[in-house]
Symmetry: C2
Subunit: 448 residues, 2 copies
């Protein structure tokens, strides 16, 4: 088969779909090539105890304007994240329970937690959105891991443990694996530590009734047969005349391409001519965070009765983060995030063992009722074809050398995907904005 379009878009995740929709609005012909047999990318639906759940991206933050506007247009409502009652924080085997924003910790550790937030906020403020690699201290901060920063700046075991759960909880990456400069930019992308962690009015403000993944499905429905499933792109050739994309379902000819996928997994495509060293080097250096997301259903939110919010954060358990996902009707649900090294170990376990371990942890945090769920499902993103993980993160020495390649077009090829966003990277909002930005870039060239 042979297809033609003005713009070929690789990836029917939310970035690719939004780019396609935006170009179609401008009267441009597009084809969206999706490797999977489903749309959505890192948005994905499952069903647990009769309720549809998101096993991928799910939260919508309070200032995620593009996403909220899209949902409004599609008539998809939000429901707030439940956060009443006690939160549980277990660091290095020590479990504490508290209400409000301030964890219970030894005073010195607590003072250091406050201090680290000030230091991060101060450093973050010097990182320019469009070019983090030009920050005044970019070289110094990019040469060290976040772990090195933690050891240099924090002295209490409590504050160090607290700092380490931030990259795990937010990006499924470990402090030893990410550059301090990348981390600061990732914080900045989410308007800082306070917003990142906040429920009401923050990043965890709300979720979508019927699931976030619907937004991808609905956008794809509107695009109709412009979206081609099970069409992995194996090779992309470009010359002065245009681009030719070789897929398992034939070739597609276009004037321009937008690749809307995480930088790492793009390495599975062969480019002719070879990509510039800067872009190719970036793709080799932005590994995906390790995560398994589980949804566990119960007849009632028994934890609420016991005074728990459902929120847990740990540094020494198979579960890194737990959150309540109960709606007004239907089953009560706890969302469980297995991250980093725990995800590596649990990815190697058989599903029954994973379920057993997750339930055993929930029993420790919420009592014996947690042992009797009415539904369980998990999605191992480390084994997700074409995605290979959660979100791309940069090790030391990458942002300053390769950061400029994130959005820089290579000939007729433009780049989208949440990793390329300048605001809300790592979020669905960032994915959408990146799709709009790439569509604008192409639209501008199309009219030249």
């Amino acid at each position: 088969m042979q297809h033609k379009a003005e713009v070929a878009i690789v990836g029917a995740g939310i970035a690719g779909l939004k780019a396609a929709a935006s170009l179609v609005d401008l009267g441009c012909s597009v084809v969206v090539l999706e490797a999977n047999d489903r749309v959505g990318g890192r948005l994905k639906a499952s069903e647990v105890a009769g309720r549809v759940v998101d096993v991928g991206g799910q939260w919508v933050g309070a200032r995620h304007t593009v996403l909220l506007e899209e949902a409004r247009r599609l008539g998809i409502d939000t429901y707030p994240q439940f956060a009443k009652g006690r939160t549980q924080l277990q660091l290095q085997g020590r479990l504490t329970r508290f209400t409000g924003d301030v964890p219970r910790m030894p005073l010195l550790a607590l003072l250091e937690v406050a201090r680290l937030q000030r230091l991060w906020a101060r450093d973050m403020a010097t990182v320019p959105a469009a070019a983090p690699w030009t920050a005044r201290n970019a070289r110094e901060w990019d040469a060290m891991s976040l772990e090195s920063w933690i050891l240099d700046h924090l002295h209490t075991a409590g504050a160090r443990a607290f700092a380490r759960i931030v990259p795990r909880g937010a990006w499924a990456a470990e402090a030893a694996q990410v550059s301090y400069l990348w981390f600061l930019d990732a914080l900045r992308q989410c308007e800082g530590f306070g917003y990142l962690m906040a429920v009401e009015g923050g990043m965890l403000d709300a979720k979508f009734m019927g699931g976030m993944h619907q937004i991808a499905r609905r956008l794809a429905e509107e695009l109709g047969d412009r979206v081609m499933l099970s069409a992995p792109v194996r090779r992309i050739r470009q010359d002065n005349a245009g681009v030719v994309l070789a897929t398992d379902q034939g070739e597609v000819e276009a004037r321009f391409a937008i690749i809307a996928a995480p930088p790492g997994p793009i390495a599975s495509i062969q480019f002719e001519p070879h990509l510039p060293a800067l872009r190719d080097g970036l793709q080799q250096r932005m590994p995906m965070g390790l995560i398994i997301k589980a949804a566990v259903a119960y007849p009632t939110p028994f934890w609420r009765v016991a005074g728990f919010s459902g929120q847990v954060a740990t540094d020494d358990d198979v579960l890194g983060i737990v959150m309540d996902d109960t709606q007004d009707t239907g089953p009560a649900i706890l969302l469980c995030f297995i991250e980093g090294e725990e995800a590596l170990a649990m990815s190697a376990a058989v599903p029954a063992e994973r379920r057993r371990r997750v339930l055993a942890s929930l029993v420790r945090f919420f009592g014996p009722e947690a042992a009797e769920p009415i539904g369980y499902d998990d999605n191992d993103w480390t084994r997700e074809p074409w995605t290979h993980g959660y979100v791309g993160a940069m090790p030391p020495g990458v942002m300053t050398r390769f950061g400029a390649a994130l959005r820089e077009p290579c000939g007729r090829i433009h780049w989208a995907g949440t990793e390329t966003a300048t605001e809300w990277a790592g979020c669905i909002e960032g994915a959408m904005r990146s799709g709009l930005r790439a569509a604008e870039e192409v639209a501008r060239r199309r009219n030249q």
Copy 2:
């Protein structure tokens, strides 16, 4: 087309060829699938001023027993690396010239250079060959970049600059980009800093008359039509019965596969079922060093007359390393290595500009005669299809989490390539030994 063999080997670099030869010796049927239209992988020939030169791997170390034995068998002679006369070291704009092993530096810096060698030797000695991730301080050392180690342990600008040129010169990776644990293991693989830097009796002891690449070519000739060129493997399916490799030249069925390629570039292959998270994660986290190798030919080795050895090491020039490659007959040649960020910049330049910059640097180090070469050629390894660079290096947090995946077979798939070696990784010797090891693994299973 449909092919069958007991073992399918992916990659006709020296590791894959050696594995194939070893299996053929055991009476095993093999097919070697090479993506390129040439064999050799990171061994590659070119011609400059009528002489064949290696634009890829070239040196044979004094204890590279497998490689030396292979060359003896094939009747390929060595010639010693020339090293008489003054070496030039330019750090942070300050050029010094010296004979012997001890660079000219301010006394304090020199004392620190001696001290850093003791510290590296001490730490290196605690890193076990088979499992660097089990070293007593593995977690601590893997959590920091080599650059963080340098800033923590060295105080003079001279010693810091000297330390930073080691990973660039040896693995084309920057101190900010590699884990201190990985660096220690890389040093250990090469028997330590002294051996790594040494000419006579060391890593730079000798080169092969007619070129190192011949060894690959000759091994391939012996394998005959078992080697299939221009056959990139796109997908590998495995089940209890065997493996099926889908290439651009049809499918190959085998009982086992050996993938003899650097971990990073393997990510271009789609595996069914998905690779385990540990292996897939490794492949996302071992980027290839950035290097361009140039050979510049002159009628005579005029630098020798001026008392220079031809050896240069710099931290602030387009050339990172220069070495003499003159033989008894034929043109005099200087080999020039452009590494790290300089390789990124020069890869983006047009070839004429690259040549101009290389010659301008050679003039600075060796005088005006360097401006008039009788031949020039370079190979940009960052744009080399299927290889994408020099040698895989690990950023912080990778060795301790993913190191165990380097050699661990995944079902019927075994791994070879210099990065998987436990001795001489990064060298051709390591590649050969890795091929032998993988062949042994498969031979053992074949007889079970």
